[in-house]
């Protein structure tokens, strides 16, 4: 029956087409459903940045509690440790003293000549402070913890006690209470480091004690020194954990807005605002100056959101005095330039009335200043600050998570994130940008080496002058020049951008350092040289043309 088979063949074709159509429709449905699900997720992300699950308060210092609501931010914070936390003595970063032997002479007589290493990420700030020989071998002040740990809760508790206010955990958890924080800071700044660290470890951190901390605690007593590997002395028990800088140091737990928690910064920025140094990169200060000035400048009220994205970093990445002869302070009253800071230290006296200095130089005995890490001040001199670019814009670039946008909390060199950090504004190839940065940094490093060579030559010349019995007046002059030369060299050497934050300012500073070193060297050599002959009788050639006919 040919008709029937034909009919069947046709039927099979239709069946096959229908089957294919069915499968295509299935695949299409799955695809559309997937798009719908993704779209729904994106809409939710765009509408709601986070879901409140954990209740963090003013005593929740443990970042793991904040991680419940902010897993992406926390992930970045944890990443500051690297792929995992590298503890132990063998994992310590390279010694700068080995790499730059002149640093030992620069810091002679000061704890930095014992142990001075390359910096690590935020994760390591408390651990590394706990094991550095500067702290384990020499007595240090509690002021060090102003930055290296989450300290504001302790400040507030001690401050509240001093002001005769309640200090129970509920009260502490309820609000920030800046006056109490400021008072506690005054109380603890000059106390010994170990004492303040123990107090810090006893503070509630908002999580059950004994739970693992995100980062390990430093071994008590460090790796070297008197207490290395030993248990804490009798009666000195570690009752809890201390964390490095964490969420609560820059964020208000209720609103997550950035805020200032460090008393040193509050005093410093108030002094800057009250002064008359131009600060075109900080518009809120200029606005406050034009106002009634009835209340002191308050960064938590007056500063713009964009300024706060630099101010939170400026709580620590600055120049300061932090030893035990006076309360910690930022030298900003005269302005934020290198010479402004120097002037504040030159004019400052200790509470006992003696002239301020950081240490007596171990070789020449000159009273000198130690520069910390003036990143905020150097940034203030640069083109990026002038254009309103904040620290966070480059060091914590925006990342996209689906439809949401967040600042990377893996705070690090922008050279690791050129695309996100630089190319948002600079529409040029990455290799070109990196080339510009390395050119600036290499030039600065080159000038730094020249300044260092000039500094060591100066030390030799001063020592020779001292050995030759230089008079006191000349020696005082030599010491003053030495202090100026070393301040400038240390300023650029300790600042962590290798000149990039303000290339021309870095070059100016090093040029002045070289000048002062050479001035001191010349003065030292002259002090033991025979009297200079009279040069007034020497012939001065009159002005001629390009060349005289008889010289052709």
């Amino acid at each position: 029956m040919p008709q029937l088979s034909l009919h069947r063949v046709g039927e099979r074709g239709v069946t096959r087409t229908a089957l294919l159509l069915f499968l295509a429709a299935l695949v299409g449905t799955v695809l559309v459903a997937w798009v719908l699900v993704v779209m729904f997720g994106r809409k939710m992300e765009a509408r709601q940045r986070f879901v409140r699950l954990a209740q963090v308060s003013e005593v929740t210092t443990d970042p793991a509690s904040w991680a419940v609501d902010f897993p992406d931010h926390y992930e970045g914070y944890i990443a500051t440790a690297g792929d995992r936390f590298y503890g132990g003595s063998s994992a310590m970063p390279a010694s700068k003293l080995d790499h730059f032997p002149w640093l030992k002479r620069l810091y002679a007589g000061y704890a930095f000549s014992l142990d001075y290493r390359e910096a690590r990420g935020h994760a390591y700030m408390l651990y590394d402070q706990g094991v550095t020989e500067r702290v384990t071998k020499k007595p240090q002040a509690g002021a060090c913890l102003h930055c290296h740990g989450w300290i504001s809760v302790l400040y507030r508790k001690v401050g509240a006690a001093a002001l005769v206010q309640p200090t129970d955990t509920e009260t502490l958890a309820a609000n920030f209470d800046m006056p109490a924080v400021m008072r506690g800071f005054q109380e603890l700044s000059r106390k010994p480091y170990q004492e303040v660290l123990e107090l810090l470890q006893q503070m509630p951190d908002g999580t059950p004690t004994g739970e693992a901390t995100p980062f390990p605690q430093a071994p008590a007593g460090g790796f070297t020194g008197e207490y290395a590997g030993k248990q804490l002395p009798e009666g000195h028990q570690s009752l809890g954990d201390a964390h490095p800088v964490s969420c609560i140091d820059c964020h208000e737990p209720w609103s997550m807005r950035t805020r200032i928690t460090r008393p040193g910064f509050v005093h410093g920025i108030q002094a800057l605002a009250a002064g008359d140094a131009p600060v075109p990169h900080l518009p809120s200060i200029e606005r406050w100056r034009r106002g009634s000035r009835a209340k002191p400048y308050d960064p938590n009220i007056d500063a713009t959101r964009q300024e706060m994205r630099s101010f939170v970093c400026g709580q620590c990445h600055v120049e300061y005095y932090c030893a035990n002869k006076d309360v910690l302070s930022f030298p900003w009253g005269e302005g934020l330039r290198m010479d402004d800071l120097e002037k504040v230290w030159e004019d400052k006296d200790f509470p006992d009335g003696s002239a301020f200095f950081d240490y007596r130089h171990g070789e020449t005995g000159a009273p000198v200043f130690k520069v910390q890490h003036p990143e905020f001040e150097m940034w203030s001199q640069g083109i990026h600050a002038r254009n309103g670019v904040s620290c966070a814009d480059c060091h914590m670039p925006y990342q996209r998570r689906g439809a949401a946008k967040l600042s990377s909390h893996d705070v690090r060199s922008p050279l690791a994130t050129v695309t996100a950090s630089c190319q948002t504004c600079h529409n040029v190839p990455e290799v070109e940008l990196v080339g510009r940065v390395t050119a600036i940094q290499d030039r600065t490093a080159g000038m730094l080496e020249r300044a260092a060579a000039a500094m060591t030559a100066m030390l030799d010349a001063i020592l020779e002058a001292q050995a030759a019995g230089v008079d006191d007046a000349t020696l005082a002059e030599l010491h003053a020049l030495q202090r100026k030369a070393m301040w400038r060299l240390d300023y650029i050497s300790s600042e962590n951008s290798r000149g990039f934050h303000a290339p021309q300012e870095a070059a100016r500073t090093l040029a002045e350092s070289i000048d002062y070193s050479r001035q001191a060297t010349v003065l030292a050599l002259r002090s033991r040289a025979p009297a200079a002959p009279d040069t007034s009788g020497l012939e001065r050639r009159p002005i001629q043309g390009v060349s005289r006919p008889d010289e052709r």
Binding site: L26, V32, V35, A403
Partner: protein, 163 residues
């Protein structure tokens, strides 16, 4: 007889299979069109056929571009489509379809580089869009050799400012 019986049984089976297939096909096509229509509506699909700049930020990723356009000098005279679509009636829809598909694909799969950068083809579109309005003014700069700089090389912020 026997043969006939077999055939009729066969036909009955075929008919019931065909019925099942028809129902399945109808259901699947119905699900696809229903879900598709809903997704299109949920994703505000119609908006993409219009000219409202806000619809470009429908998929969130263009929010920064929309914000910076609002800060730019051209926001009063040119919308997204004026600069980013061809002014040729056919080219306009080709460009729209091309970008619509690839933008959706990129944002759905999350496979795209940040910061977002314009593709060479779209750069040519914007360059022609500049000339569409300003051509008379810059005819002396005409690009005869393909090596003239693009307008936005210097006039970077005319379309997107204060990023």
């Amino acid at each position: 007889m026997t043969e006939f019986d077999d055939d009729s049984a066969d036909d009955a089976a075929t008919a019931s299979r065909a019925r099942r297939l028809t129902i399945a096909l109808a259901l699947s096509l119905g699900a696809l069109s229903g879900l598709g229509a809903f997704t299109f509506g949920y994703g505000d699909g119609w908006a993409y056929l219009g000219n409202d700049p806000a619809s470009c930020a429908n998929c969130h990723v263009m929010q920064d571009s929309l914000d910076s356009w609002q800060h730019s000098s051209h926001h009063g005279v040119a919308t997204c489509n004026d600069c980013h679509l061809s002014h040729d009636p056919l080219g306009k829809w080709v460009t729209k379809a091309d970008n619509g598909f690839f933008h959706s694909l990129a944002f759905t799969t999350g496979r795209f580089a940040e910061p977002i950068r314009i593709k060479p083809r779209n750069r040519r579109v914007t360059q022609r869009a500049c000339l569409h309005c300003h051509g008379d003014f810059v005819h002396a700069l005409r690009d005869d050799h393909g090596d003239a700089p693009s307008c936005v090389h210097c006039h970077q912020s005319v379309g997107h400012a204060l990023r």
